[in-house]
Amino acid sequence: MSKAEIDFPPKGGFSFDLCKRNEMLIKKGVQPPSYRKTGTTIVGLIFQYCGFHSTFLEMLIGCLTKNFKEGGKTEDGVILGADTRATAGTIVCDKNCEKIHYMAPNIYCCGAGTAANTEAVTDMVSSQLQLHRYHTGCESRVITALMLLKSPLFNYQGYVQAALVLGGVDVTGPHLHTIYPHGLTDTLPFATMGSGSLAAMTVFESKYREGLTRDEGIQLVTEAICSGIFNDLGSGSNVDVCVITKGHKDYLRNHLLPNPRSYISPKGFLFPKKTGIDKFFGY
């Protein structure tokens, strides 16, 4: 047995060696590469609509004028929204990226911050959630996703720049949480994150109320994202919306396209067959 080799188990935690190397390089004048950052507007809100009728007469009228399902219906769920611009420094590198990430069939997560970090962290946790579903045989809960996301972010002390809006509906009801890069979590009825969060929050603060219907909720979320798109330089392009209700979800990719390209050729672009795209109208 070689005496020189003593294997120490690696000490837990983040190794900051490369960070020190980067600092040393910056001091010597080396420009760090700019990374793709989703300077973003992401929002979420919970809607809980109770449509029951208070008097027998109203109920009768309701049953006569609408179908039976609409009388006495309670609808609740979570609506998530995001813009679709990804920037690398001052350049828009992706005009139609997807910021609403799948976590579980009943849980979705919007991500702001460094695109690589949000993708990696949500991917990792969505795999862990699936394994957990196989173990337990039950639908995933939103607080499970929350704890699985919060722990690595706290352990990396904010160096993993991922700010997330997590929303979903499980057996305990609709839930909406925000997760900050340092690992702080908040549970709120409506939330905004990203560089456009202030613009979107103004819309929510003035127009949010309890008892929104699903359509009013979608309208409000769209408005908030548009406010971020038009008033924040880091957000732009289109609006993605995801509506999650009990047992059902609607992923409305490009729900609204308020920024059409105005100068494309009306005939569209033709690419040679080998590129795999027949006609390209741009977005």
């Binding site: 919060k150 706290f154 904010g158 720049q161 700010a163 925000t178 900050y180 890069p181 340092h182 690992g183 702080l184 979590t185 908040d186 709120l188 990203g194 560089s195 969060s197 202030l198 003035s206 127009k207 109320r209 009013e216 309208q219 409000l220 769209t222 408005e223 548009c226 609204l256 308020p258």
Partner: protein, 233 residues
């Protein structure tokens, strides 16, 4: 002023814990700030550790959340092993062990308060650094600087439950009036032999202090029937 959304969240806070004849009252404001932006104006800084012990959190929001999560987990195990509810002293010492042993990495000041059948209502203050100190009343957070003189004058031994709660609400509202990093609503938690009562005092229910004005055209007055027409895009 540049809004630095990457700044770590701190709960520039006001937290208070007060014992009274028969239990404790914990109180806190509800503002979580990132630099100069208020990230959450309705946060709940009084977190449950067990059925009969709660903790008020201040300082770095992420650090205090993680510490209270760990302590809740340890206390749950301890309760199962012990076979009866944990005492406030044990809860406070678990918090102190985490805070002291990780003092280089954590930045959080906590006030642990609760009721158990051996000692009754107890308050333990665990400031930065991880010392533990049992006190008849404790104040913490950035807003507490404005309350030392107030408590010296206003606190007395053997108050009733209502007197204690009114004292806490008055104190938090005074701190909110003077500390920019505290604001929002006042939350209180009363813990005694009968159980736990949570109360909530929104801004318009708080007393007005020197130079504070009555609300005028407040958004709270606008009747909450269908709001303004959504923008047509």
């Amino acid at each position: 002023m540049e809004i630095d959304a990457d700044a770590p969240h701190s709960m520039g806070t006001t937290i208070i814990g007060v014992t009274y004849n028969g239990g404790v009252v914990l109180g806190a404001d509800s503002r979580t700030s990132t630099g100069v932006y208020v990230a959450n104006r309705a946060s709940d800084k009084i977190t449950q550790l067990t059925d009969n012990v709660y903790v008020c959190r201040s300082g770095s929001a992420a650090d205090s959340q993680i510490v209270s999560d760990y302590v809740r987990y340890f206390l749950h195990q301890h309760t199962i092993q012990l076979g009866q509810p944990a005492t406030v002293k044990v809860a406070a010492n678990l918090v102190r062990l985490l805070a002291y042993n990780n003092k280089n990495m954590l930045q959080t000041g906590l006030i642990v308060g609760g009721w158990d059948k051996y000692e009754g209502g107890k308050i333990y203050g665990i400031p930065l650094g991880g010392t533990i100190i049992e006190q008849p009343f404790a104040i913490g957070g950035s807003g507490s600087s404005y309350l030392y003189g107030f408590f010296d004058q206003a606190w007395k031994e053997g108050m009733t439950k209502d007197e204690a709660e009114q004292l806490v609400v008055k104190a938090v509202s005074l701190a909110i009036a003077r500390d920019g990093a505290s604001g929002g609503v006042v939350r209180t938690v009363i813990i005694n032999s009968e159980g736990v009562t949570r109360n909530f005092y929104p801004g318009d229910k708080l007393p007005l202090w020197y130079e504070e004005l009555e609300p005028q055209f407040s958004l709270l007055d606008i009747p909450s029937s269908p709001g303004p027409e959504p923008m047509n895009i």
